[in-house]
């Protein structure tokens, strides 16, 4: 596999423009890859001048665990434990099959559950924590989908299908009953007809 990747890379690199030649690679419709670009940070991590200077007077935004969202009042330790467990049981472990992060020992789940406990202890609410995980993993991360939009079909659909089925069954039975009555009355209306008389007689005998 490594060899295959290397071969693949070597083929790919054969098509790559040499750094700085300004030839766009296939599928590129915008600017070329900056081979020697204008780095804003040096490889050793030292900060270099940013392209746009920020105003010196701008106050630094406090760093919250959920960026831009200050936490509320932290709960007691006991409340935090119960709430963390409850939230964790509703969040899907991304590498498991139908397990919550509270019930899984997978590393991804352990890290997510640890963060959940940290967020709860800091004072974030259930809705804020669930919103945070949904913003990163999508609604897929919720084991219990939210009741809104198309998701409502999950709750309404079965009841709707049952109701429609019931109506259809009642309509069918009613029509079948009407049809039988019409047939008998049609036979009775013409008792002189031999065929009708024989059927009516057989029905009476039964």
């Amino acid at each position: 596999m490594i060899l295959a990747l290397l071969l693949n890379l070597s083929v790919a690199h054969a098509d790559l423009p040499p750094p700085g030649t300004g030839t766009a690679p296939p599928q590129a419709t915008g600017p070329d890859i900056p081979a020697d670009g204008a780095p804003v940070a040096t490889p050793d991590g030292a900060a270099a001048p940013a392209p746009e200077a920020t105003p010196a007077a701008a106050p630094a935004e406090p760093e919250y665990l959920i960026p831009g969202l200050p936490p509320g009042a932290p709960p007691s330790a006991a409340e935090a434990e119960v709430l963390s467990r409850s939230i964790g049981e509703g969040l899907r472990c991304p590498v498991c099959q139908g397990l919550s992060i509270a019930d899984s020992s997978a590393s991804a789940a352990v890290m997510m559950y640890k963060l959940t406990r940290e967020l709860v202890a800091t004072g974030y609410t259930r809705a804020e924590i669930e919103d945070y995980f949904v913003s990163k993993y999508g609604e897929w991360v919720l084991l219990d989908p939210r009741q809104g939009g198309l998701n409502q079909l999950v709750w309404i659909g079965p009841a709707l299908a049952f109701g429609l089925g019931l109506l259809a069954a009642l309509a069918f039975l009613r029509r079948a009953g009407d049809g039988a009555a019409v047939t008998v009355s049609a036979l009775a209306s013409d008792p002189d007809d031999d065929f009708s008389r024989r059927i009516l007689n057989e029905a009476e005998d039964d």
């Binding site: 990747l5 693949n8 900056p34 991590g45 991304p94």
Partner: protein, 179 residues
């Protein structure tokens, strides 16, 4: 006879009204992998982070604005990551204008240092305590690679190892600035 035909048409229309939506649901559902984690962060601003690499040097994503960034989450216990490793190293060497950053995922830095020393390494490898940055990026497993354009927008999330051809195309995509 005409009454019977009328009933049949009604049943037919009613049946189709019930069955067709079900067929549509099944058809659309068959195309989805229920275990696939959606990439909700594509085409949004990449979450900022301040991490330290294995050599103790700090890295701040906000300071990298203006150049493409390739963020590769990996670990030494992940076989596909090891298969992808030579490609990452070669691509990072071929494109010094693109900032490649590795992020250790649920791994011990000591093990990573040993592995990198043995295999050779040309770009910074960041330590992500408690996987906080990985969660911020919606990482579900490794390897996962994020291509971030000079404006700081995630243009693509690769789940699983990359091929050379895909790397080439995605580097070109990440080099295009947002309009």
């Amino acid at each position: 006879m005409s009454a019977r035909k009328g009933v049949n048409v009604g049943v037919l229309v009613g049946g189709l009204a019930v069955i067709l939506p079900l067929v549509w649901l099944l058809h659309s559902g068959f195309g989805n992998d229920p275990h696939e984690v959606p990439s909700v962060l594509e085409h949004t601003q990449a979450p900022l982070f301040k991490l330290v690499d294995l050599e103790g040097k700090p890295w701040d994503l906000s300071q990298l604005r203006g150049k493409p960034v390739v963020l590769n989450f990996w670990s030494t216990w992940c076989l596909p990551c090891k298969e992808e490793y030579p490609l990452m190293q070669q691509a990072a060497s071929a494109y010094p204008g693109v900032q490649f950053l590795g992020v250790l995922y649920s791994d011990e830095p000591k093990k990573a240092v040993v592995y990198l020393r043995r295999m050779g390494n040309v770009f910074p490898q960041l330590v992500d305590p408690d996987g906080r940055t990985a969660i911020d990026y919606g990482v579900a497993g490794v390897p996962e690679t994020y291509f971030i354009n000079p404006s700081g927008v995630i243009v693509y999330k690769q789940v699983g190892p990359l091929s050379g051809q895909a790397m080439q195309s995605l580097l070109a995509l990440a080099s295009q600035d947002s309009p």
